[in-house]
Symmetry: C2
Subunit: 229 residues, 2 copies
DNA sequence: GCAAAAGTGTTAGTCATACACCCATGT
DNA sequence: ACATGGGTGTATGACTAACACTTTTGC
């Protein structure tokens, strides 16, 4: 069939913007490319999608190969398809972002990345392909999502302080928030469980530790609830 | 090179959810497929992307071939990439939606569509491929977008009544709105211009006609404004 | 004069914002 | 005792939601 010869000559890749939150700062996981094209530069992790692999599975595979993590929050961002975006041929890329708890992240179990490192969102180098553009899209998508759904917790360890969340929101939105008002709203959601524990070994009054009530959240979502901040 | 043989055997398509608003009802433009696969069914308009064609351009081409329209509001929805979604081989599809003024829409200038018709959003038939899923995504995306930006006007003729907009919002959100409150908020945006004219030949008090102030909107956007409803 | 949709304000409640001091711990 | 961040309440203004009657036109 003619169509096959004419059109089935392209490839598609997935690229992943992996967000983490550490030291009060939003981070992105970049790889140092060990192979051409663009060998020797920091880039977003990604790979060509195999012909027998669902798109979403491919994104999960890339994340898993890199971090060893599964069951991670992941969402599609956008698809980038300029003709000349890839030097090897016609390759469009479907970009995803995921939110990982930096504390869960263990290995650099990667075959194709010579090095892997968290980069603060405020100091991202020039990246190959259209990766800087992808990252911009990712940041905006993250903002939009966090504003409407309490997914920020995916970036925090199981137990966290209210100040942790506040700093997280402040990094994501790049604004400052009022402590009292923020706590009021946050607790008013009714989705935080007081763990009963506090920080220890801190050089100030220890903060209470909370957990996110995932079950309650799921059941509210079911009932068609929607959240804001 | 090995990679070429291994991966460059797939294709990608664009599919378009073309929204219109007419007779107080949200509509979608469907084509009646004149060729296989799925010959003889109603489907979303779409086409394979040419190797030398940017993704967005491809979506605009499909829209233009079908309606003769250019300069139409268009936005990417999501990319669908299940392995078995297309019978001819590995084809992922990038879905777009566009908002057209039904009054501007003239011809069925289409080579590949046997028939083209507006279908009310409330009575969409079973569609081939994953098109019903795509349409669901499109509706949600449209809701999200309309909630935060006054793009609803793209669906209305240049001059419209306040009741027209209210009906539009009611169809998109599938809810009922209070007339007085809706008008208050709408006029408070300061983005409507009273055209000075009114309807005529209507069997009731004629409504004032307004225009959307695109220039003011652009300049507010520039200044980092954001809107809600 | 009747039918049909246009147009118009007020009130009560809820929510967002601004703001400053005392507390518990480690050193 | 001092430094560090944790924790807490109130008052004001802004916005949202609920609600009913008069007006203008065509027939």
């Amino acid at each position: 069939m003619n169509v096959i010869k004419q059109f089935f000559r392209s490839a598609f890749s997935v690229d992943s913007v992996i967000f983490g939150f550490d030291e009060g700062d939003l981070k992105v996981l970049l790889i140092y490319r060990g192979a051409d094209p663009y060998k020797g530069t920091w880039a977003l992790p990604g790979d060509l999608v195999r012909l027998d692999e669902d798109l979403d599975d491919s994104a999960r595979r890339v994340l898993n190969e890199l971090t060893g993590l599964t069951n991670v929050y992941m969402d599609q961002i956008h698809t980038f398809g300029k003709v000349e975006r890839h030097p090897l041929g016609r390759v469009i890329t479907v970009a995803y972002y995921s939110l990982v708890k930096v504390s869960d992240y263990k290995v650099n179990a990667s075959s194709w990345a010579k090095d892997v490192k968290w980069h603060s969102i405020s100091s991202i180098p020039k990246l190959p392909f259209d990766h800087n553009e992808i990252l911009e899209y990712a940041k905006n998508k993250l903002k939009d999502k966090v504003r409407h759904q309490p997914i920020g917790f995916e970036l925090l360890p199981k137990e966290f302080t209210l100040t942790d969340i506040q700093h997280l929101y402040e990094s994501v939105f790049e604004i400052e928030l009022d402590k009292r008002n923020f706590r009021k709203k946050l607790l008013a959601m009714g989705l935080l469980i007081d763990s009963g524990f506090s920080q220890n070994a801190v050089a100030h009054r220890p903060a209470r530790l909370y957990r996110f009530d995932k079950k309650k959240y799921q059941s509210l979502i079911q009932k068609g609830f929607s959240f804001e901040l």
